[in-house]
């Protein structure tokens, strides 16, 4: 099975993140950039399928030059190769345009199965899997906490508010996964060394047949007008329990009319 895993480089969600003052885009220059955490689960799932059923795993990333670091990190877990869509005109692209670019790349790669994280930790928008599936005219099985592959039939348990849904489709399909689906492996030393030699193909917008005017700020379907930093919360009263902490807590709740 030919599997493509979508990997996004994001600013580390464990540190302070900001938007750029000049153009309101995510500040990636000053951030510690890492693989979007949920994508590591997508890579793990792809590797497990390859190990059980054979095939090839390709990483697909759209992002600036520095995303190469995340691509090598992804490859060190075990995928065979990577494709990096990189073009200066992509800066400022909205989700709709991003899905157009990724769908064009996936069209060229001819994937049987596309796996991605359910959301990225920067935007948390959750829309790309269905946007891509809509463009490619294939099934989308999203929010999976379990994926079973039986020949060309895919079955997922999709996490919902009430419990879960069992959803099936045939390949080709897009599957998005939550972090409950597996436990991603750590790259081995051998894996890290091997990743340095694995092929990484770069594609420009021209290679994909997408016009620069369709992406970036020019092609954006929405715009950020302004952003402000939310004032940080300041801690209030703090008491040490000396036998009446529970009562003091309820007294506070009563003043605030919660009790």
């Amino acid at each position: 099975m030919n599997i493509v895993v979508l990997v996004k480089q994001v600013p580390d969600s464990g540190a302070d993140r900001t938007l750029r003052p000049d153009d309101n885009t995510v500040d990636r220059g000053s951030a510690n950039n890492v693989i979007n955490e949920m994508d590591e689960y997508a890579i793990e799932e792809a590797l497990k399928i390859k190990e059980a059923h054979g095939g090839e795993v390709t990483i697909l990333t759209m992002g600036p030059d520095r995303a190469t670091e995340s691509i090598r990190k992804a490859l060190s877990m075990g995928p065979d190769k990577a494709v990096h869509v990189v073009d200066d005109a992509l800066h400022g692209s909205c989700a709709v345009a991003t899905s157009k670019v990724l769908a064009a790349a996936l069209g060229q790669l001819g994937a049987d199965l596309v796996i991605c994280g359910a959301e990225s930790t920067d935007g948390r928008v959750q829309v790309l899997p269905h946007m891509i599936a809509e463009r490619l005219g294939v099934a989308a099985l999203t929010g999976a906490r379990k994926l079973t592959v039986d020949g060309a039939t895919l079955t997922v348990e999709r996490q919902t508010e009430e419990g879960y849904e069992v959803v099936t489709a045939s390949t080709p399909a897009v599957v998005s996964v939550w972090d409950t689906i597996n436990e991603p492996r750590y790259p081995s030393f051998k894996g890290i060394m091997a990743a340095k030699k694995k092929p990484v193909q770069t594609l420009s917008l021209g290679d994909l047949g997408v016009a620069p005017a369709e992406v970036g700020f020019d092609g954006a379907t929405s715009a950020v007008l302004e952003h402000t930093k939310r004032p940080p919360r300041s801690g209030g009263a703090k008491v040490t329990d000396e036998g009446s902490g529970g009562v003091q807590l309820v007294e506070f709740l009563a003043t605030e009319k919660f009790v």
């Binding site: 959750q126 829309v127 069992v166 009263a237 506070f252 009790v259």
Partner: protein, 319 residues
């Protein structure tokens, strides 16, 4: 005034969800709200009275196995046809998994911009969004097509405005491509009678400090006394104390209740990401240096196994 389409979020068990009433309230600022029910047979009839109470002048209904038996694609197709026909001033959906997914497909079908996790919407379509786990406030606008937004639960207070909606059944014609992902089963998992996490006015969460799954009874007890939902930190979920769908934080749910109670939660940045826009925060933790106290309006440094039972007892006394 032009119509504003509000895609109804509802459950079989509890009917119209609160976020739907919030959307109807927001929609009235932009035009005349029309609710759109996409669901199983008879769904609209059960919901239309409630939708009317919050100002829906019209209810469009697309019902049946063709809609309900597949994952979101048929819903997006029906909605796209409706948008083309009525040319609404805006389309509002809930910022939950399915709402975002329908909106995603609609955006591609109509080549239209999309804004998610919206917490406010002005009459001119300018949306307010909260980014980076509540650390940034963003004003944004759809610049291509109509305002297509998903609204985060607990963003506005629902305000009733009585209307008597007319119900219009929509003709459902979906393509084979819409039917590629078939829902073969829906399984409910235990939740009891507690309000849903993202919509609850009060959330009581437990963390690593709760110690084990059995001790979560303490968290549940306090939640029930306060009429709230139960949440859990990632550490608690990863340790197997509580199921993943109740996880609050960066890789779980984002909640914004009136009151958030953090029990045995240190307050790592990934957890704060999911709760720091809560109105009032209280915390109980044995470590006085825990970062959760930087956010808490009231904090108790102490053993939660002493403090929580005492608090529960005190609430019972006052009831």
């Amino acid at each position: 005034m032009s119509e504003v389409l509000v895609v109804v979020e509802a459950t079989r068990e509890f009917g119209v969800k609160k976020v739907t009433l919030e959307m109807l309230t927001l929609a009235r600022e932009l035009g005349t709200p029309s609710a759109v029910v996409l669901g199983g047979p008879g769904a609209a009839e059960a919901l239309s009275a409630k939708l009317g109470e919050y100002g829906a002048e019209k209810v469009y209904a697309a019902e049946g196995e063709e809609i309900d038996g597949y994952l979101v694609a048929p819903k997006a197709t029906v909605l796209a046809e409706l948008v083309k026909r009525v040319q609404p001033a805006a389309v509002l959906l809930a910022s939950a998994q399915e709402g975002k997914e329908i909106a995603a497909r609609l955006a591609v079908k109509l080549d239209n911009g999309i804004l998610t996790d919206v917490v406010g919407l002005a009459a001119d379509g300018t949306a307010t969004q909260v980014a980076f786990a509540g650390s940034a406030i963003v004003k944004s606008k759809v610049t291509k097509g109509l305002p297509l937004v998903t609204v985060r639960p607990n963003s506005v207070t629902p305000v009733p405005a009585a209307a008597t909606p007319t119900v219009e059944q929509l003709t459902v014609s979906v393509t084979d491509t819409d039917k590629l992902a078939k829902v073969v089963d829906r399984v409910a998992e235990q939740k009891g009678s507690r309000p849903e996490l993202t919509e609850a006015g009060v959330v009581v969460s437990g963390g690593r400090g709760v110690g084990n799954a059995d001790n979560f009874k303490l968290v549940e007890e306090l939640a029930d006394l306060l009429g709230g939902a139960v949440g859990a930190s990632r550490a608690a979920v990863d340790s197997g104390f509580y199921p993943h769908q109740f996880q609050v934080g960066q890789t779980g749910k984002t909640v914004s209740p009136q009151l958030y109670v953090a029990l045995g939660i240190s307050g790592a940045i990934q957890h704060r990401a999911g709760m720091q826009t809560s109105k009032t925060i209280v915390a109980v933790n044995k470590d006085g240096e825990a970062p959760i106290f930087e956010l808490a309006d009231f904090g108790v440094v102490g053993d939660l196994f002493k403090v929580v039972p005492q608090a529960a007892e005190e609430i019972r006394k006052r009831k």
